[in-house]
Symmetry: C2
Subunit: 418 residues, 2 copies
Amino acid sequence: MAVIASLECARCHHHVSAETPQTLCPLCAGSLYVRYDMDKLRQTAKREDIAARAAASPTSLGMWRYCSVLPDVTPVTLGEGWTPMLHSKRYPGLYIKEEGANPTGTFKARGLGLAVTMARHYGLQHLAVPSAGNAAGALAAYAAAAGIKAHIFMPQDVPFANYVEGIVYGANVTMVDGLISDCARMVAENIKAQREANTPTSEVWFDISTLKEPFRVEGKKTMGYELVEQLGWQYPDAVFYPTGGGVGLIGMWKAFEEMEQLGWVTGKRPKMYALQASGCAPVAKAFEEGKPASEFFQNAATFAAGLRVPKPYGDAIILDIVRQSGGKALAFSDEEILASILDYAKHEGIFLSPEGATATAAYDALIATGDLKPTDKVVLFNTGAGLKYTDMTAEAMHLKRPGTLPKSMPVGGIITPQ
Amino acid sequence: MAVIASLECARCHHHVSAETPQTLCPLCAGSLYVRYDMDKLRQTAKREDIAARAAASPTSLGMWRYCSVLPDVTPVTLGEGWTPMLHSKRYPGLYIKEEGANPTGTFKARGLGLAVTMARHYGLQHLAVPSAGNAAGALAAYAAAAGIKAHIFMPQDVPFANYVEGIVYGANVTMVDGLISDCARMVAENIKAQREANTPTSEVWFDISTLKEPFRVEGKKTMGYELVEQLGWQYPDAVFYPTGGGVGLIGMWKAFEEMEQLGWVTGKRPKMYALQASGCAPVAKAFEEGKPASEFFQNAATFAAGLRVPKPYGDAIILDIVRQSGGKALAFSDEEILASILDYAKHEGIFLSPEGATATAAYDALIATGDLKPTDKVVLFNTGAGLKYTDMTAEAMHLKRPGTLPKSMPVGGIITPQ
């Protein structure tokens, strides 16, 4: 495992120590990245050791197969990572990274698995998070596994599954009549109030928000390592990524940089496509307008609940990566997203989350225009299990619970019960 | 991969050919098991090749890591198998096999993945299944991936997720005002009617019911291989298994027999515990009464929807295995199941399905009585993701959708939104 050398600000490159828990850069409030001694890592971290280590372990190591490039602490694990890379049945170059196989059914397990691991390492006892839904569920699960108290704030109209998992895992759940931005404000206000009231340090919440602490990115970077390893240590031509907070995209870019420094991969980095829903598309709008950062997206509304992030904290980093890579930030309507869910379910056997279906909608659109060829090697992230969005997808399809239909009525088909 | 020698009846040991699709034993209607030439397999199938093969493959092979003991055909795969084996945070001997990480969120993916693989191999074009819910969802997904039409029959009151996935994957869905036993009758009646109407052979449905064709057991047996490999090629002291149709338990027992013949494992086989819900406990009742088979369980009712199987086709085989192994068949009430869901969520970070929680309820009960020690090595199956049962678990908890609560009301906790 890797010893952390320091935490570096993504914006002003100021370094701080990782000996104690850190949030944002103390100088400029930029996001902090975990930095290792890469000269030392080049000696100790070998890519051929990864598969050998996994083979020597009777159980799946999950994302901890990359322990040589992760902090040297005892993991809090629920089996996250090393998810299937499914080859499309229709497009020879398309690979779907099925993040729905993670604990709590989404890619959020990677970031929060690592962030909670570090929180336990630091001895933190209260973690708080504003969330569009899935980060809250993942925090609740990992906090329960670690014996830490979770305080989660979600919009009132998240998928029902997000609410239920929060309650079941024993988190302190607050449903907010607003968006993730309102939730973030409330977390900040609560922490401020606790400090002003001289609450004992051990009882003050630690804010584990997207990009406001260094370790969620560090967990998410394993998606970058994984996709490269799963393609035989080669880059694809493009990565299609549903982008709400964008931590995964930022984490993958960090992984690519590290892997190049370690000599694990060479060649041209993939074009990074950040995909959003038209009902909340701050990054796509800024990309279209050639701006370096996004503006707060008014009246955010889409059934791709995880993309209802009106102003991502890492917007400037995301836009920079997308542009540097030669990719694009695009948005698709809820109708296009739903059509893509049904298309991939019926023809690939994969039930996408609405977020994942922004990426397939984008893929199909770019294939149709000829911007992309079916043979171009593309890794497309389904960030969550479609099953976690049963209520919202059914609502978008105008599907009713069959219990409300007359008895013995045929549903969706041809056959009449005898 | 292994060449199938023949299919053998579990009851009368009659052999039939696997050259064409088979259902039940033509002599006695017993279930058919896949048999290989074990002398040949002893030469070709080596356990040390498994991890090496997995390590040499850039992507996860899932259950096909055991291809040397599976039929020699091209897999229809969605990434099933090689699920996490989670070490309990509280009991040193307890390992939870997290089958919720499978495609479609349950262990059914293994059996139907293999059965659909064989169906495609045979050129079958219509597959029908009666299901308590999850087998229907898995068939729908794998049939979609294979380009085969699925006809699924489920009780009207299955978890909503089962209904939605059937529709989304494009299956022909019939919701039945009854139980899986009614669904089974309807599938049989439809096939009979098709035959009587001289429907072209390619359009007659093939009945892919539990234990009425040989390959669902064959897929499920990978759970047995996996648990032994994940314990370092050793048997645990006991296996705790939620039992509806019981295919997984039967499949694991077959795996143990094969592994012993191959010299992959030695020693005493685990005690097999078959766990049911008190509201539908035909196997536990027959076990208690010392009977060789179960009776139809009247008025089956439990929120562990997958256990609503009033008369499993393989009941005699299940009871025989449980007794041979020195295990037990036990049943727990819905209240005990719900309490165990909440306990394991809050203290282990694992959101169990109601079926899985019959196994944890049993584990805790046997620990409490001293029948089991916390150091006894136990592998306990969570057969499905708790997230797939959001509606039923919430109903059991009397949880309402937060959208129906007043605005800005604190939910489940302490914090009042500002």
